[in-house]
Symmetry: C2
Subunit: 584 residues, 2 copies
């Protein structure tokens, strides 16, 4: 059987930054070539970044992607990689589609091309378009109708893009019908908790359906609220894993494969789902047999807490860097949320680039002020204290506020203070809100919701505790000082906006609250189903009322790392003016 | 030819408020019956409101809609309207769809039912689903595959929902194939500037294609960012207009039609676009010939400024009421934007429910303070003054801010002040930003962007001036005091955040800026195309850079009335971390 050394470049790209993305392709193609690769692949929409959202509908952006692709082909050849086929995702358009209402303007395509000898040897578009959760691809793209197959060193390689593997029909059976010896799928599949297990099962199943070796190339990095976790996988035709790449780590997965030689009577024409086989012969001559072979390796899986924590770090790092910032600013209350955010920030951008500010009021306890200072000591972040009493007194003198207005005022004075320091010193502000409090609206709009990014906005409070404990354990194991003060973990959560206030004055205990929220928010279950699961009907009804009423606040909350299938970001769309109330 | 008196109820509904919406249907059915109607229709998704967004994916909400529909049928019969067929839009699900990845969970349908004799006589789902602009219906609904036809008093009436008319194929040709004598389309079609002309042309064209009289029933009111402008239309088979309802006005359009008797050999089976004719006979006996007949009437069209102004009033009024507020709060700077917002608010909720607060700083000019007070005098809104000097001094004493940080601080102190009054007194805060400044990011996040609703967020600055002049003219015509001080209209726009500041320090002149924005934002044209239209390349490049960089601020901006096809609300989705820059 012919051998083939495959290089799967599990790397990041930056939406819109086409020049930098093209540089990345050249850099990693050079690396792949130096490692002796015979075929090189890059992720879905590598050249434009993913997701481009409405930029797909701007003709000049599509033009820029098309031009960059042609220039990239020429540049790769000029740099000596012309004979090495390179698969790269980009944004294209089709000239065949008839413009009509209901079709995306300009007929954009989520496309990929094979670059070879300075030219675009073959191009194709994603066939199955996802339009659920965080995806809106019916809005942006017209589907591809070909089954691309390239012959590389005597091996027929079928190609697919992301959702082509997830949905039934289409390119997986078409790969079998086309008689290909290898199926490569390039992806930009957003991270979700436990999705790695799902993906592995999917890839193994699809390899058996396609009847050939399957290489699944994942993206790594972050874009706005999405995190890409890597975890590229290669399996043989029986579903046995040949290689698995690390999670949350950029690099080139190199693997030697023994593949069937292309059939002399390779099928042509239209196969499954009306896909027309588009076959291009790049090179017929098999590679000379060689040894030793590269086994690809099998990276250890992260445990659940480590995986989520790393997702938060990668998401934050990408957001800060891609927005052109170097440093972050966090209000430190001494509580667990801001402490976890600070620990994540130190891991993401380095403690020397993390600025913390304690903003005590007359309701702040001594231990809170001490806990904030302790966190700063433990992590080495930059720390200062600015009391809000003078600002508070100025407002109270003019307005004479009481109750909730007085409570919210304190949070808003802190938000204004953080933004003033951000504007003056150039840091990006991080919002400390967790998913539990955002879900029920237990936060102050323009107060603690202030910030350009909310690292833990999709993390329930019970998980905040777990992740803080995990991070401290990991530090202790590594012989470092645990970053998060024990006191921040064990004391009862409180907003400290009035004397003696604790969260449980207003909310159910967090383990109960989070269990209800997971059913209502994450799994779209209704009141009856939640009560049937054994929760107190009055508590459930009250909680759902809070969630329904909090939509406006959530819309004003900054983006943050998504770590579950249904959160408060792009994959949840509710009306604000919402008369709907679950009834007891 | 048989006669038929049709009642098209051009009314509002409230998303999620199913009980109130059902009450509305009963109220207007009674009215229709009292007027002698033989067939009654209500808008698309009347029973649930439109758009329900992700509520469609919550099974308990779909259940609530289905149950409410059955109860409504029984209630109408119990109240004596059982013999009167009532067409009403609602949310349903299909049990026939096979659940699979890529299909909406629970298989929801954008449905409509014909209620008759206490039962659901017929039901069907929208066939063409819009998935562009503000629409996401592939995310929410599975399409209907029938062509519903009801026989009412010997006339065959085909039914359709909104997009079924807009897209080619489907129910319009199927109506002709089914040999129907009348096509009724129920709609929730959002307002866009100049859409009334488009709609009239569409309805006339589709009537000719269907070969029968066409009744287009529109919704009226507002839901979040969407405004529904009414403008129901009835045309005959040649496209001649028989009736046209007023814009922005709730009511029942009553029209007597002479319609062909149902054919004895009425077709059955599958017709155009694989639609299966679903025919239900409600009553065969034609109505006894009667006179006099109701002509339907042709309401005068509003002129362009009046139309846009009314859309802003209707949108704001709906948002305030549907969110359960009675009064609004506005920061009054003396400038044109807040003056126009105040005028709109007085028209929407009454001056007695409008609270204005002037928050001068040391940079506020005397004429600005005077102009704000003058506005209050002219309109009769509730007015107070709270200087921000004490708060400003408190921050400056602690932080020593300079430059932009000092400028933004003033705007944020005002935002905090408005929210404090809102929390204390219960008003909803309105944000005064216009589309021009939001597009280029010429605003302060958490400052002048504070508010629950931005009435003019989709109105360019040049249109702000036009609308202010229009409103004053209209007042003068009506013998009222023009609400907006002439000085607010004629003085050079300024943020007054530093001495002598004017907008043109940072921005091109507004007529030029708005022309560029209309090409870039509204029509998705690129730099080359805009420069080719005759604008200075450097100015264009600088403007596009500002727009590209402002996405994060815009996402944090509150909802507001949409008045054009592409604004900064739901119909524009861009990445925040955007490396894309149009190059000169």
């Amino acid at each position: 059987m012919p051998q083939l050394r495959l290089a799967l470049n599990q790397i990041d790209s930056h939406v819109g930054n086409i020049a930098a993305n093209a540089d990345s392709v050249v850099h990693w193609t050079r690396h792949s070539a130096e490692q002796g690769a015979h075929l090189v692949a890059f992720p879905e929409m590598m050249l434009t970044g993913y997701p481009v959202e409405d930029l797909a509908l701007r003709g000049s952006f599509v033009d820029a992607s098309r031009t960059a692709l042609r220039e990239l082909a020429e540049r790769l050849a000029a740099e000596g990689f012309g004979e090495l086929p390179v698969i790269v995702g980009y944004l294209d358009r089709t000239e065949q589609a008839v413009p009509r209402l209901g079709k995306p303007a300009g007929s954009p395509e989520n496309a990929a091309a094979v670059l070879h000898r300075g030219r675009v040897a073959l191009r194709f578009a994603k066939h199955h378009l996802p339009n659920y959760g965080v995806f809106d691809e019916f809005r942006y793209f017209v589907p591809g109708d070909t089954q691309p197959v390239i012959r590389v060193r005597g091996v027929d390689v079928a190609l697919a893009i992301c959702e082509d593997l997830w949905q039934d029909g289409g390119r997986v059976p078409a790969t079998r019908s086309a008689g290909a010896g290898l199926l490569i799928s390039i992806n930009a599949s957003p991270y979700e908790r436990d999705k790695d297990d799902l993906r592995l099962d999917l890839v193994r199943r699809r390899a058996r359906e396609a009847g050939c070796t399957l290489a699944y190339l994942a993206m790594i990095g972050g874009q706005d609220e999405l995190v890409f976790d890597g975890d590229s996988i290669v399996v043989d035709a029986s579903g046995e894993v040949l290689a698995r790449a690390p999670q949350f780590s950029e690099g080139c997965v190199l693997v030697d494969l023994d593949l069937p030689a292309a059939r002399a009577d390779a099928p042509e024409g239209v196969v499954d789902d009306c896909l027309r086989i588009d076959r291009v012969i790049l090179s017929e001559e098999p590679v000379e047999p060689y040894e030793p072979v590269v086994a690809g390796g099998y990276a250890d899986r992260l445990d659940d807490d480590e995986e989520v924590y790393d997702a938060l770090v990668v998401g934050l790092r990408a957001y800060v860097r891609k927005n052109g910032f170097r440093s972050v600013l966090i209000g430190l209350s001494g509580g667990i949320d801001s402490a976890l955010v600070a620990a994540i920030a130190c891991d993401a951008v380095g403690a020397q680039n993390v600025y913390g500010v304690s903003m005590p009021s007359k309701y702040s306890s001594e231990h809170s002020k001490g806990d904030a200072a302790d966190l700063a000591d433990r992590t080495g972040l930059n720390f200062r204290t600015v009391p809000i009493a003078p600002m508070f007194d100025a407002y109270m003198g003019s307005l004479g506020l009481t109750g909730l207005a007085e409570e919210n005022l304190q949070a808003r004075l802190r938000g204004t203070l953080l933004m003033a320091l951000s504007n003056q010193e150039g840091h990006i502000v991080l919002a400390p809100g967790n998913k539990s409090e955002l879900a029920v609206g237990y936060s102050t709009l323009y107060g603690d919701s202030v910030g350009a990014y909310g690292p833990i906005k999709d993390v329930y409070k019970t998980d905040v505790f777990r992740l803080a404990a995990y991070r401290n354990r990991a530090a202790a194991r590594g012989g470092e000082i645990p970053p998060i003060p024990e006191n921040s973990i064990v004391k009862p959560p409180s907003a400290e906006l009035r004397p003696g206030q604790v969260d449980t004055d207003s909310l159910p205990d967090y383990p109960v609250l989070d269990a209800v929220l997971a059913m209502y928010v994450d799994r779209d279950q209704g009141l009856d189903a939640i009560v049937a699961a054994g929760f107190d009907p009055e508590m459930v009804a009250g909680t759902l009322r809070m969630v329904d009423a909090a939509e406006y606040k959530r819309r004003q909350y900054p983006p943050g790392t998504k770590i579950s299938a249904k959160g408060f970001g792009k994959d949840r769309r509710l009306p604000i003016t919402n008369g709907w109330r679950e009834q007891a």
